[in-house]
């Protein structure tokens, strides 16, 4: 399984540059929002966490549709599916992890820079980073279900996003509210963050199983 992680990371970093693309897209999102709300630094810093979260959610969609498609096209998917059930679930889990490491983690790391651009306080930026660490893997995990469903579709990209976005809404809600709770005083940070973590754990358990089921069914 480590081997799989290493291979997927090698491919991600070698071709496509998914990590870079995600961060750049993220940057683009953050760059255009100020146009809308004007140079109101106060407002910017207020909606900063939300913007970072939305950017991260959307950036995670990039490349998600190829999660299994590339393997299907060169025949590797057959070997992956040709495992016992636990092996397959573990494989999907590891592939999600690799996807997160290649696209989600860079976003987390880029968050401080973007926080600066959005005039966010250090606490706020820290809170966003923390919630992103907990939340973005959940997006990858639930995204795997969409990717597995669309594995046989030529241009699954949009379809995967459509299927996944409604399911990702809870992640967004609790991610953002935890980030806000960290800076606004009466609200405690922990409850929404715990819920976010619970969702992440739930998706980490559910996503690979559902995706594995879809892959088993899709094999032809």
């Amino acid at each position: 399984m480590m081997a799989l992680l290493k291979r997927d990371l090698a491919i991600a970093t070698r071709s496509g540059g998914a990590a870079m693309l995600g961060v750049l897209f993220f940057l683009a999102v953050v760059a255009v929002i100020p146009f809308g709300i004007g140079p109101d630094l106060n407002l910017l810093s207020r909606i900063g966490p939300a913007i970072l979260w939305i950017g991260a959610l959307l950036a995670s969609l990039l490349g998600l549709d190829r999660l299994f498609q590339a393997d299907r096209e060169d025949g590797s998917l057959d070997m992956l599916v040709m495992q016992d059930w636990f092996g397959l679930v573990a494989t999907v889990f590891v592939k999600c992890l690799a996807h997160w490491l290649a696209t989600g983690l860079p976003l987390v790391l880029a968050a401080p820079l973007l926080g600066l651009l959005m005039n966010m306080s250090a606490t706020s930026t820290g809170a966003v980073m923390l919630t992103l660490v907990a939340g973005t893997p959940a997006i990858s995990f639930i995204g795997a279900v969409g990717a597995a469903i669309a594995v046989a579709l030529p241009r699954g990209g949009l379809l995967v996003s459509i299927l996944i976005l409604p399911l990702a809404i809870p992640i967004l809600i609790f991610g953002v509210s935890a980030s806000y709770a960290a800076v606004t005083d009466p609200d405690p940070f922990l409850p929404p963050f715990m819920i976010l973590s619970a969702i992440a754990l739930f998706f980490a358990a559910l996503g690979p199983v559902a995706a594995a089921a879809a892959l088993k069914g899709a094999s032809d």
Binding site: A3, D74, G75, S76, D78, M79, V81, M82, Q83
Partner: protein, 232 residues
Amino acid sequence: MFWTGSPPFLAVRSGDRMRATATKLKGRRGDSVLFDDISFSVGRGEALVVTGPNGAGKSTLLRMLAGLLAADSGSFTLQGDDGADLPVAEFAHYLGHRNAMKRELRVSENLSFWQRFQRPEDGQGLSVDAAIEAVGLSGVAHLPFGYLSAGQQRRIALARLLVARRPLWLLDEPTAALDSRSDRLFADLVHAHLAEGGLAIAATHQPLGLDRVIPLELTGIHRAATGAGEVW
């Protein structure tokens, strides 16, 4: 013999009963039955060669044996030497039409990935270099897989079978794109595999150069599915 190093764990001993057995397999694609009532049994040291015209269902049969497709009815089991059922997925190598290699990774990276992915903890198999050597391509290990010629790619795909030792080989047109020298090389590989107690099931259009094989011919005449198949 090119399997140097570790002792041949597959070597045939008297009393070895490892067998791959198909019973009344029925294969369907869409609404037509490709084959029905396929039964065979392959033991250690034996090879089954599936032939038949294009579209007969050879690949479909092999994918069923590999567990990638569900059989319409019938069963395929692999029994270990002690008579217990073994999971095919873990004891068989499947080599399909596609090579299961990443173009952008080096040959050695590709092979060592499969080695670590497919070899069980205590399993055996050649080292990556030895496997590349065994398919006669020493020197290409550092090239990206995509740089190889069609035949070289196929030979590297064959090398995957060597880096993780598994008793049953399921081969779908293994010699496609191979030149005549590599055909012989492939035959030697399979011979060695069989000699060490392996089992092989191959679909092919070309003679594989194996001398003692069990033939299985699919006629390519399909019939429409009836009964349970006709739902609507």
